[in-house]
């Protein structure tokens, strides 16, 4: 519909190329660092591509030899999976009934808005009492204690997403099932939850990514391999006296892999989830 001069087309392609380089360059460099021999990374002038490709750091980090860098990394990887998994399941279990209730009975909605408003709270406003509380319960440096704390972030968020999902399921379908004699939970099982499955999956992925990404509470409430998560392990590596930058980069690549794969595969669902809040206002 619009006239396209060749000059304009060249300009657009140049901008697109620039954008692609800006996005990709840091990521490619992270990967290149992870496969470059240590000597190449400290050479001056810096050679941008390794003489010999070296994948050995991946084997080092994923090995389970006791007291090695790998054992510590694998332990934190498992902790991250457990914490994020438990917190995600718990958040969904709390969010689904609550979100459905608010979607079908708008008069109780104000309580949900109070829950969502807690998003504004900086974690530092809760950190000290949570520290005392976990310590009192013996849940400091414990994956389940950390998962419990993560509900402060995950539960409001998943409830909000699930509510907009339930809003788009016509209540007439549920009403029909109930007239046929199905109880509330049977109606959910047969009608509501299958229809809400895509929203549930998106909510679960978002929740998992949020927990995987979390750093502040993990830094405060974990202290050793029993509960330390990947983010804390990587911050330790980055701030410590590791002389091989390639090892830090490798840890980064491995920690980024799950969310990046989820991001690429689930792109459409994630983007519609990210933007629906924005477009609806």
């Amino acid at each position: 519909m619009e006239r396209k001069s060749p000059l304009f087309s060249i300009f657009i392609h140049a901008c697109a190329l620039l954008l692609a380089v800006v996005i990709l360059a840091p990521l490619v460099w992270l990967f290149v660092m992870s496969i470059s021999p240590a000597a190449d990374l400290t050479a001056k002038p810096l050679s941008w591509w390794p003489q010999t490709v070296d994948f050995s750091r991946y084997a080092v980090l994923l090995s389970s030899v006791e007291n090695s860098a790998g054992a510590a990394f694998v332990a934190s990887l498992i902790n991250s999976i457990v914490v994020a998994g438990v917190a995600t399941l718990a958040a969904l279990a709390l969010a689904i009934p609550a979100a459905w209730a608010v979607s079908r009975t708008p008069s109780v909605g104000w309580s949900l808005y109070m829950v969502i408003a807690t998003y504004m709270l900086p974690p530092v406003a809760l950190a000290v009492p949570l520290y005392f509380g976990l310590s009192h319960l013996g849940l400091l440096n414990n994956v389940f204690g950390l998962a419990l704390v993560y509900l402060t972030i995950l539960a409001p968020f998943t409830t909000w997403l699930m509510k907009s999902g339930f809003d788009s399921i016509p209540r007439e379908i549920e009403a029909a099932a109930m007239i046929d004699g199905a109880g509330l939970f049977a109606t959910w099982r047969i009608i509501t939850l299958p229809l809400a499955a895509p929203v549930m999956a998106t909510s679960a992925l978002f929740a998992f990514l949020l927990a995987w990404d979390e750093f502040f509470y993990a830094l405060l409430f974990t202290s050793d391999l029993r509960a330390k998560t990947l983010t804390v392990a990587i911050a330790d590596l980055a701030g410590g006296r590791v002389s091989d930058y390639g090892l830090i980069a490798t840890a980064g690549v491995l920690a980024a892999l799950p969310p990046v794969v989820i991001g690429l595969v689930m792109q459409r669902a994630l983007i519609s989830g990210l933007t629906s809040g924005g477009v609806k206002g």
Partner: protein, 294 residues
């Protein structure tokens, strides 16, 4: 089912969520308020009631004022840059060119990269001895000698802002792009027929569709930037010479490094109040923007 029993059932269904939220958010918040009026330490006995002493000391202290300015600088500059870059990238991605779908797919990568990994990556890029930025700038002749980007008070905050922008502008771009695609084709065509220039078309045809979603993105990004902790902790820990210390870092130091739970709590609540005021001001603005569109 009658209205009252519907309401009763709704409350029952919400009970588990509300109970957990009260346990992990409501009660800790009230306890933080209580602590902020005491001189409690992180370890040891409960503190004594000291009235508003903590608040007075915090607000009049030079640490707080300097940190507030640093936080505001970080939040305003990085969010502004993210908005501008995000909208420009969205306008580009809304054009037709080869590889557009792929480029759109790439935009999700910085968003998906964990914040701590992003901070670590940029810390390596800025490395004073072997970093890629120093190497690249020297090799193309823009820099004579390697610099310590994160180690000098003059460049540390700017370096952090660049790292934060790189991670966050693609999200703004994706939100803006979704909004752009909602602009009806016939209105675009009509404005073209009516002879509107590119700027007039952006201002009167495109911008009204962008305004709402962008306002929401602006609110969320500003609140997050004001609360920023992770990227700064990993890259500089608030240094050098406290030049990148933001409010959340200051609260962490006060409450956990110096173990002054009481005064840390008062500081945390001041931060909370600032974020709440910001959010309320924005909410009013969003309502105004939304109203002007309909």
């Amino acid at each position: 089912m009658s209205g009252t029993s519907m309401t009763t059932r709704a409350w029952l269904l919400m009970l588990p969520l509300l109970a957990v939220m009260i346990a992990v958010i409501g009660w800790p918040l009230i306890d933080t308020i209580h602590l902020s009026f005491t001189d409690a330490k992180l370890v040891g006995t409960a503190g004594n009631f000291v009235g508003i002493d903590n608040y007075v000391k915090t607000i009049t202290g030079s640490n707080f004022q300097r940190t507030l300015v640093t936080t505001a600088k970080f939040a305003i500059i990085s969010v502004f840059a993210e908005m501008v870059l995000g909208v420009l990238a969205a306008l580009l991605l809304n054009q037709e060119f080869r590889g557009r779908t792929m480029l759109r797919g790439l935009m999700i990568l910085p968003w998906a990269l964990p914040t701590v990994v992003n901070a670590t990556l940029w810390r390596l890029i800025y490395n004073p001895e072997y970093g890629a930025l120093n190497a690249a700038l020297t090799q193309i002749g823009l820099l004579d000698a390697y610099r310590s980007w994160l180690g000098e008070p003059g460049t540390a905050l700017a370096s952090l802002i660049i790292a934060d922008c790189w991670k966050n502008f693609p999200l703004v771009a994706l939100i803006a792009l979704a909004a752009l695609q909602a602009v009806p084709r016939d209105i675009q065509a009509a404005s073209l027929v009516d002879g509107a220039g590119p700027f007039a078309r952006f201002r009167f045809v495109t911008l009204p569709y962008l305004a709402g979603p962008l306002m929401v993105a602006l609110v969320l990004r500003t609140i997050e930037a004001f609360k920023v902790f992770d990227i700064i902790w990993v890259m500089t820990r608030g240094g050098p010479a406290n030049s990148t210390r933001t409010l959340s870092i200051l609260v962490y130091q006060e409450a956990f490094s110096f173990q002054r739970a009481g005064s840390g709590a008062s500081l945390a609540l001041i931060v909370t109040l600032l974020v709440a005021v910001l959010a309320a001001a924005y909410a009013a603005l969003v309502r105004k923007t939304a109203g002007s569109n309909t």
